[in-house]
């Protein structure tokens, strides 16, 4: 009976947290947006969240594209269809790997930083002092960070895909000696703008929303102690990664499931 009660308690806690996070999101974004005040703060956050994540995204994209090219070639060459490696690299990147890997890297690089920053602001009473100055921290701190993540992740995902395709081409054409005409032509013929590129982008947008939401909520809702902040940062990375992988399956099933 105790265990049942504990389970119920746990479930209620989760529901309450979900409710709180929705309220925070609503108050930060929907209630009375102030675009003029927000713009400079948003630009600053896009720099911290997006531009500073570029290096890890570009390097990972390049290597994943190169590995895909290499792996694809060794399998396809057995069937004499190594010319299709361009198609394989592009489709796996655009549909799956770019949005998912970018979101996972983003959660680790930018999400955890957002949580820790907001959590520390809470612990050092900076959020309270904003409130007492008469400035709503949800609008001043949370909203620009949320929008920055939401805007940056799809762009980073697109950059990841482009760099990945380039990495694949580098390995396939320059190293393995596939004829560049057929590499690019196969890719061009098989990648559909709406079905593949747009669907990949939709995934990235959804992941951007979820990962940044989790990150800012965990920071804002954390217990304001060093232990609480460390737990919140861990939760950000774990919850975001699980949410990204779970949502990826659902989105893939919805987008490509009927084939």
């Amino acid at each position: 009976m105790d265990k049942l009660a504990l389970l119920g308690r746990h479930g209620l806690d989760r529901l309450a947290a979900f409710g709180r996070s929705s309220m925070i999101l609503f108050q930060a974004l929907v209630a009375k947006p102030q675009p003029l005040m927000m713009f400079p703060l948003l630009v600053q956050q896009i720099y911290f969240v997006g531009v500073l994540s570029l290096i890890i995204i570009v390097v990972s994209g390049l290597f994943i594209g190169m590995v895909l090219g290499l792996q694809g070639y060794t399998i396809l060459v057995d069937y004499g269809s190594e010319q299709a490696v361009g198609q394989m690299v592009a489709l796996s990147l655009v549909r799956e790997l770019a949005p998912v890997v970018t979101a996972l890297l983003f959660a680790g690089r930018a999400g955890s930083a957002l949580t820790a920053e907001i959590g520390l602001m809470k612990a050092t009473e900076q959020l309270s002092s904003l409130e007492m100055i008469g400035v709503d921290p949800l609008r001043r701190i949370i909203a620009p960070r949320f929008w920055a993540g939401f805007i940056c992740l799809p762009i980073l995902s697109a950059i990841f895909a482009i760099v990945g395709v380039y990495g694949g081409a580098l390995v396939s054409i320059d190293w393995l000696g596939i004829y560049d005409g057929s590499f690019w032509a196969n890719m061009q013929n098989s990648v559909n703008f709406y079905e593949d590129v747009m669907n990949g982008l939709v995934k990235a947008v959804v992941f951007g929303f979820v990962v940044t939401w989790i990150a800012v909520f965990q920071g804002y809702d954390c217990i304001p102690t060093s232990e609480g902040i460390s737990q919140a940062t861990t939760k950000t990375v774990v919850y975001s990664s699980l949410a990204v992988l779970g949502l990826d399956f659902i989105l893939t099933a919805v987008m490509f499931g009927e084939v």
Partner: protein, 271 residues
Amino acid sequence: MNYFDDVVIDIQQLSFSRGERAIYSSIDLKIPRGKITAIMGPSGTGKTTLLKLIGGQLKPDSGSILIDNQNIPTLSRSELFSVRERMGMLFQSGALFTDMSVFENVAFPIRVHTDLPNDMIRDIVLMKLQAVGLRGAHDLMPSELSGGMARRVALARAISLDPDIVMYDEPFTGQDPIAMGVLVNLIRHLNDSLGHTSIIVSHDIQETLGIADYIYLIADASVIAHGTPEELQSVESPQVKQFMHGLPDGPVPFHFPAPDYGADLLSGEGR
């Protein structure tokens, strides 16, 4: 003279608890306008909590907090933010924004709530920093300041918009004797010349007695005594006497509730 002819904050039947522990049970408290009111009491009695209740950062379990007839716990979020524009608060930790310089910290409330031109903001900020003796430190970052200096910058920030009500949470802690003397004078001077209403939370008895017009002594979730400093010093209640004179023995225990000392030492239970 009656202190309560003109009351700016009127707290009635306020109750607040954290979990099972009652911090306040049905207290009544009035803060007169234009005066310095001190809230004193042993640590852990919820003095800071009281400031947070007045600022609307915490919601009481019951009771009302009227600031010029606006009941804080019932205000909407946006009404609360507009009331707070009239308040300044000095946090115990200072709570400076770590990503801004000292200058920008003090300028922040002015920038968000007014449309003043930059050169005027600069003048105001330098005047406020001069008042706390840190004009020369205006381009330092908060991480480069000592605890006492950070608190003085926070004080300059709290008064940068000349608010009607200034709440000081332990303003004297961590100050050297020189800064302490200057701060005591500064709070008194600001209060008299600008017509602020000041609320000081403190347990530095001598400094507070020297500056406060009216004192509330809080212990055991209620107000145990209130009056002018002279009145309080002549109160005969042993609880009040113990606190005002800093005596270790008396009805207010120094120790957190614990089992018998000897029995605890001799119980021999391993950890």
